[in-house]
């Protein structure tokens, strides 16, 4: 019942907009050449699914995103732990990390391609870098921000350093790590699609670009919409995971 209601709360505006759009193109207020009605787009979506093209493109995009994301998370967590331990390294790397974090990662692509060639290795590496940066900034912040009382309490009851890491630091940082995962995945997906848009033979981004180049307007709309749907799906998935794995935090209103 609760999920039905939250589904309704999140969907009614979109349904309303789609209905208006349908009506407006039906009565020719909107030019169906540039704004094909949702009913037509639904047909395009169906044929794209049936032909298997859509599945293939989405899988390629997800493959790049996931490989980069997982690699970036692993690297990011390792680096965060090192930076949390060493003040010297933290101070030395701080300007570099800030600079890399705040610049558009896409600008690094030409350099990477120069070194590694125009292939998926450069793309995935860039996605991993973007992911790792979000993880490093959030996780090292969480590790340093831990409440000393909890550590003192555990030590006072006889916990050794390994137990303190496992029973105190890890769970204490977990909520912020989850936020970081969600943000990082968002960044990774956006970056992957942008990279595909720029130069790639396949993937959702390349599908969008090709649709524009060949003036396949329906395909253009469908693929852009799907990029959005993909984002929403994964954000939702992370939220569900977070609720399951971090049950002690205050539920968001």
């Amino acid at each position: 019942m609760k999920t039905v209601r939250s589904l309704f709360q999140g969907a009614w505006l979109i349904v309303l907009l789609l209905a208006c759009w349908q009506a407006l193109s039906k009565f020719r207020v909107l030019d169906p050449l540039f704004f094909p009605p949702p009913s037509v787009l639904l047909g395009t979506l169906g044929s794209l699914i049936m032909s298997g093209e859509l599945g293939h493109q989405i899988l390629r995009t997800l493959e790049r995103t996931m490989v980069g994301f997982v690699g970036g998370v692993a690297a990011g967590v390792v680096v965060s732990v090192i930076l949390a331990v060493s003040i010297t390294l933290r101070r030395a790397t701080q300007p570099l990390i800030s600079a890399l974090y705040s610049m558009p990662h896409l600008t690094l692509l030409p350099m990477l391609m120069l070194i590694l060639g125009m292939n998926d290795v450069s793309r995935v590496l860039l996605v991993a870098l973007a992911t790792a940066l979000v993880m490093v900034i959030q996780t090292s912040d969480a590790i340093r921000g831990i409440n000393r009382d909890y550590v003192d309490m555990a030590v006072n009851y006889g916990a050794g350093s390994f137990t303190v890491i496992r029973k105190i630091y890890f769970p204490a940082c977990l909520p912020q790590i989850f936020t970081a995962l969600r943000l990082a995945f968002g960044r990774a997906l956006v970056l992957t699609i942008s990279l595909e848009l720029l130069n790639s033979d396949d993937g959702l981004g390349s599908m969008i670009w090709n649709a524009w180049q060949t003036f396949a307007i329906e395909k253009l709309y469908v693929s852009v919409a799907l990029a959005g749907v993909l984002g929403v799906m994964f954000q939702g998935l992370f939220q569900v995971l977070e609720k399951r794995l971090v049950p002690w935090t205050e539920p968001a209103r």
Binding site: D149, A154, N156, Y157, G158, I168, P171, P247
Partner: protein, 270 residues
């Protein structure tokens, strides 16, 4: 005027001798504690009282072994190698781990003592039940009231802590009714387990109700200005009516704390 009771006791379980603690703060060195000496006997309930900022919490951290003293030393019973320190602390705030359930929190001390899961759960559940927390074992701390949280923290100390418990104003944040109930439960628990307790508070009435002895600290730097014995059988009833002697004691404690108000009120009444 003060009846100092710094006698060396043969059966002392906790003895701190000329403790001093200085810490750096923005280039200056701040003296938090100076020359603090007192002893606590086995099974005794000692309250440490003093104005805020007198280093009471710092003192407990030193006793718990969480802060090394700059001068002096703390003597505690040896704990066997690999076992937790002999003195366990109950914090005023953040006294429970938010990511553990009530049961896991309460059983944490036993877990650190490598007690088997089934045994620690049965021992902890029994205690939770006794203090009215039955059915809350799987809840997280955020689902508990402030009073319940402190109850769980006290249970953890009594079930899995060392022979000496260090309590840092555990009931300071509770409303008056909840606090009375918590005090009563603490007396019950103490009566059942007979652990040695060092109880920090700023509430004179709380100290009088609970303790065998009261150590008064002065403000910055904290040092012992007086020690008082309360010669009334413990545990005491909440409705305990302090006699003339205890009221006199209370007046002297107020005086030691530098509270002339307490004196004036008393002289009006008599």
């Amino acid at each position: 005027m003060y009846n100092h009771l710094i006698v060396t006791m043969k059966d002392a379980v906790l003895r701190c001798a000329r403790l001093g603690l200085t810490y750096p703060d923005n280039g200056r060195s701040v003296r938090a504690l100076t020359d603090v000496s007192f002893e606590v006997r086995h099974g005794e309930f000692v309250s440490v009282i003093g104005p805020s900022g007198c280093g009471k919490t710092t003192l407990l951290h030193v006793l718990a072994g969480l802060l090394p003293p700059t001068t002096g030393n703390v003597q505690l019973p040896e704990s066997a190698p690999g076992l937790p320190p002999a003195a366990s602390m109950v914090f005023q705030e953040n006294s429970l781990f938010p990511w553990m359930t009530v049961l896991e929190n309460a059983a944490f001390g036993l877990e650190m003592r490598k007690v088997r899961k089934a045994e620690r759960e049965s021992r902890t559940s029994r205690m939770l039940e006794r203090l009215g927390l039955a059915g809350r074992e799987r809840d997280y701390p955020r689902q508990l009231s402030a009073g319940m949280k402190q109850r769980v923290a006290v249970i953890r100390a009594f079930v899995g802590g060392g022979p000496v418990l260090l309590m840092d104003e555990p009931f300071a944040a509770l409303d008056r009714q909840t606090r009375l109930r918590a005090q009563e439960e603490l007396m019950d628990l103490w009566d059942a387990e007979r652990k040695t307790v060092v109880f920090v508070t700023h509430d004179v009435d709380e100290a009088l109700l609970l303790s065998d002895r009261i150590v008064v600290l002065s403000a910055s730097p904290g040092t012992v200005v007086a020690e008082y014995c309360i010669g009334v059988e413990r545990p005491r009833d909440l409705l305990w009516e302090p006699d003339e002697e205890v009221i006199g004691l209370k007046r002297r404690i107020f005086a030691s704390l530098g509270l002339a108000v307490g004196l004036a009120q008393h002289s009006c009444a008599t």
